[in-house]
Symmetry: C2
Subunit: 105 residues, 2 copies
């Protein structure tokens, strides 16, 4: 997987997840990896970028809002969201954004 | 400055800058810090989030597209962009996105 997502020509959508972690690691790494695998299987999934130092920023890219809605409601993902709120994150913000233009070096 | 940006109610805009660095550090840290100071002074600036491990993800938030256009053209920022392309980044993608919805824990 490339570190910079290779996304198609705009428009498409981004889910920007900015988070602060608790000190609880139990299950976190395995679940994060599993959610990435699972996301890649979803219709409309376009790519993924992630970095953490202090704050974590994870961005997933999607073809449209329906794809994002379906992914949010996916059963295994819902359970991971619940565990995230309860155990792994002390704070987070999720932003749904429409990518209108993009360019690369 | 909080690690998770405290942005107003959507809609607003995000500039997502995903990058890979070269091994050249000369001037990088000072310029990055100066650009952050300068961005905060621009009309329409709303906030900033950044993390790097391998890939770097920096997101700045803006009230509208005109604010982003003015910032892109700001003289000192243009010079920093030039140095970035020439010295500090081996690859990057910039995405301009309209934040339509947001929620927080």
């Amino acid at each position: 997987m490339p570190l910079i997502a290779e996304t198609p020509k705009a428009p498409y959508y981004a889910v920007i997840f900015t988070s602060l972690r608790t000190e609880v690691d139990e299950g976190y790494g395995d679940t994060a990896l599993r959610m990435l695998e699972l996301a890649e299987e979803q219709p409309g999934y376009l790519g993924y970028e992630s970095a953490r130092d202090g704050v974590g920023i994870t961005i997933s890219y999607w073809s449209d809002l329906d794809a994002i809605k379906s992914w949010k409601k996916q059963a295994e993902h819902r359970e991971a969201q619940r565990l995230g709120r309860e155990k792994w994150y002390s704070a987070f913000t999720i932003r749904i954004a429409k990518v209108e233009r993009a360019y690369s070096l």
